[in-house]
């Protein structure tokens, strides 16, 4: 491998956006037949780098080489023509069209009169699908496939051209273990054909299982490339976040009060079944599990956005039925939702209006909104949460992710809830804001709030929780106290192994 020339080589790539240096001198090379991991925290510049590579952004400095040739990419299509293929994390498929049409989207084979050559299309597609060993054929409508199979369609696109390098962006996020095995086989096949692979993922166990080398970005800066066999998770993490991963558990406990929220035998169809837990005042309960384990759906049920099919919800010992978010709010439940931009904020509205939205009906002088009171609320939470904005008139869409998240948190704190549910509170925001939010959650518990934290990040859950509920595939596997929890037992519980191991 040492003699071979890299299939893809980036040299000193610089990309700036107004006010931000998104990429600052990034260089790395992918060898033929190599699986090269690209790692970094959210916002480290991975996606910007991929956009530069795909020609969606033009770099302000630096060069891209494919083989020996220096290239400039004008767009995704040109990148593909040069043999650089992207497998996107977000599915970009046309659901009403067939598998074949999706795989050859934009490149349907033609006959005379501009007709589609269906026979050729089906043959080519079925050849690719056979390689992938999937259970559907070229004519299947994509909308009828499961998410995992749709992902396979996305991957099949990479195999339509004579690829030199294939970039996988979080390909396993929605795959089951069995499907992952198929994916890794595909990657191995590509590898054997001398294709270079860039593999972007947060999942350490995958990285260490299939990659040859790891390149790391932090805050747009290239941190170096290491050989996977010569390193371990801890040192990679250290390169990613610039310090050791803080896996410390929450040590401080506050005075635990009465049970604020109790859930008994709660089920919602196939989403989750027979869930039992309680949250006391002054306590932070973390919910940990893989995507799709049913945690968000429980939160949505508690907030009146889903109707449970069975079970009881008790607030302060009294059974309640919650039919709508308005009901939930009236009963003192607040939800900081998972999708900040889609569910949390009206991006075109200013900061103040967003923050006071749930209580605007109560802030009245006569028939009108009491703007003075609104501004007072905004000022209070801006200071308390250290929200950086030029003023309340600023449109929320113009703020950074961290400040946006603080607006959402401020919005729900200002409701003075008795139960606060936060879903992925630090997704996509920088390290500094993250620890501020963690500290805030602990403080809130100290003030007597009952807090539920849903998170997919283990350090976060360990850090803030008094107790941790581990979920797997719609079921609560086990509840840990912060004293007894260990990383291994937690991972086992959320992988569905917890019970067997314990038994």
């Amino acid at each position: 491998m040492t003699d071979a020339k890299p299939v893809l080589h980036l040299e000193d790539i610089v990309k700036t956006f107004p006010g931000v240096r998104a990429l600052d001198g990034v260089s790395f090379a992918v060898m033929p037949g190599e699986v090269h991991a690209l790692m970094g925290e959210n916002g480290a510049g991975k996606s910007t780098l991929m956009k530069v590579l795909g020609g969606i952004h033009q770099p302000d400095g630096g060069d891209i080489f494919v083989g020996d040739d220096k290239v400039t990419m004008a767009g995704p299509l040109e990148a593909k023509a040069k043999g650089i293929v992207f497998i996107h994390q977000e599915l970009s498929l046309a659901e009403e069209l067939s598998v074949a049409e999706n795989i050859y989207l934009g490149e349907l084979p033609r006959k005379s009169l501009g007709r589609v050559d269906w026979a050729k299309l089906a043959d080519q597609t079925n050849a690719i699908l056979k390689k992938l060993n999937v259970g559907f054929d070229a004519r299947t409508r994509v909308g009828d496939l499961s998410i995992a199979n749709q992902q396979m369609v996305e991957i099949a696109r990479a195999l339509t051209v004579d690829a030199k390098a294939v970039i996988f962006d979080e390909p396993t996020a929605s795959l089951t273990d069995a499907e992952k095995v198929v994916l890794f086989d595909v990657i191995a096949d590509l590898q054997a054909d001398g294709v270079g692979i860039i593999y972007i993922s947060h999942r350490m166990e995958e990285i260490f299982k299939i990659t040859d080398r790891i390149s790391i970005l932090r805050d747009g800066q290239y941190q170096g490339t290491v050989v996977t066999a010569d390193t371990d998770e801890e040192s990679v993490t250290q390169m990613m976040i610039g310090r050791k991963l803080d896996l410390s558990r929450n040590a401080s406990h506050h005075e635990i009060g009465d049970i604020a929220l109790q859930v008994r035998g709660l089920s919602c169809g196939k989403l989750y079944q027979d869930v039992n837990f309680e949250v006391r005042r002054g306590e932070v309960v973390g919910f940990y599990g893989l995507v799709g384990a049913g945690r968000t759906e429980i939160a949505e049920t508690l907030f009146g956005l889903r109707d449970p099919s069975a079970g009881q919800i008790l607030l302060d010992g009294e059974e309640v039925r919650i039919h709508s978010p308005a009901d939930a709010i009236a009963r003192g439940i607040s939800l900081v939702p998972e999708d900040r931009k889609g569910q949390g904020l009206v991006l075109g509205m200013n900061c103040r209006d967003n923050m006071t939205l749930p209580q605007v009906e109560d802030l009245k002088t006569g028939p009108f909104v009491a703007e003075g009171a609104e501004i007072a609320i905004f000022d209070q939470y801006r200071d308390r949460l250290d929200i950086r904005t030029p003023g309340w008139k600023q449109k929320v869409g113009n703020l950074s992710g961290g400040n946006q998240q603080k607006i959402v948190i401020g919005k729900w704190l200002s409701m003075h809830p008795s139960v606060l549910i936060v879903d992925e509170p630090t997704r996509g925001i920088d390290v500094g804001s993250k620890s501020e939010i963690h500290k805030l959650l602990r403080e809130l518990a100290a003030q007597g709030y009952a807090v539920m934290v849903i998170s997919s990040e283990m350090p976060e859950v360990l850090h803030v929780s008094d107790r941790i509920v581990a979920m797997y595939s719609g079921k609560v596997m086990r509840t840990f106290t912060s004293e007894e929890v260990t990383e291994d037992s937690l991972i086992q519980a959320i992988s569905g192994l917890g019970d067997n191991q314990a038994a």
Binding site: G75, P76, L77, K80, H88, S92, L93, A94, E95, E96, L97, E101, L105, G106, E107, L108, R110, L113, G114, R115, V116, D144, C268, G269, K270, L271, E300, G304, L305, R306, D307, S309, S324
Partner: protein
Amino acid sequence: MQPGTLSKALKSGAIWGFIVLELIFFSVAGEYFSLSDKAFMDFENMLLLLKQSAPIGIIAMGMTIIMVNGNIDLSVGATFAIAAIVLLDSMTWPIFAGLGDWVIPVAWLLALLVGTLLGALNGLIVWKTGVDAFIVTLGSMLGFRGIVFMFNGENPTSHLNWTLVDFAEAEFLGLATASWFLLIVTLVIWFLMTKTVHGRNAYAIGDNREAAVNAGIRVGPHMMINFAIIGFLAALSAVVFYSESGSVNPNDGQLYELWVITAVVLGGTKITGGAGSVIGTFGGVIAIQLLRKGLGHIGADTSTVNLVIGLILIAVLFLDRQLNIKGKEELKV
């Protein structure tokens, strides 16, 4: 079987079921209410129905592509009127005076050319300015109508050419000229939508525009071509219709967009784009014409037709939604 297969089968068959229902209803009701003794399902009557469907039907085929593509065109009625005026007016222009009856193909070509260009203009604006097709065609609906009035003020434009009328009233294999045009257009557009790269790309764009852009499909030119096609078809519809009638009022074609969109939506085309079929639209066109004729047959007046069609459109939307509900687990947002 995949879940949703049943609802899909129901949806694709729904329009034909509806037509059968209409036929039965009007035949039975006709026995009691009809003013004439003729049966509703008379063969002659059905042929006439096909002919009368042509003006709306031809445009509806174009609207199917436009809506599958994820756009909408509100200006078709005005384009229809402009093409009609060009058709009739140009036959009287002095420069064509020496052509005799050869003026007919020239006038036809001219009308079709004007329609195509107006459509392409809409498409070009949508493409190059990025303004939503709804607004662009809302504007050009007013603008084109203004141009119609510029020809002859509020007076009708008339020119009767008997050769032309003979052609328009001719029958071939038992079908009127207009019916042939409708069938041919349906066939051609069906071919375009299901067999050609352009048609499949139109589906892809309407379904997931970002994916189409990422796959290198040139969205703008595709949209412009589709707008040119609907412009051409609106003009063709005018050519077919006014060859026979020979007189056009400046308000002709008003509310055509409503009828056309109703037919397309009845035929199962998704309002947001990406799904729909020409065959379904054909069913939608027939269903509407059947309703108009049927209500007339049992003695209801035009007011009832308007009322019933409006409510049916809403009912279809409602049923479609009910069939797509995922069940009780769904998030209530």
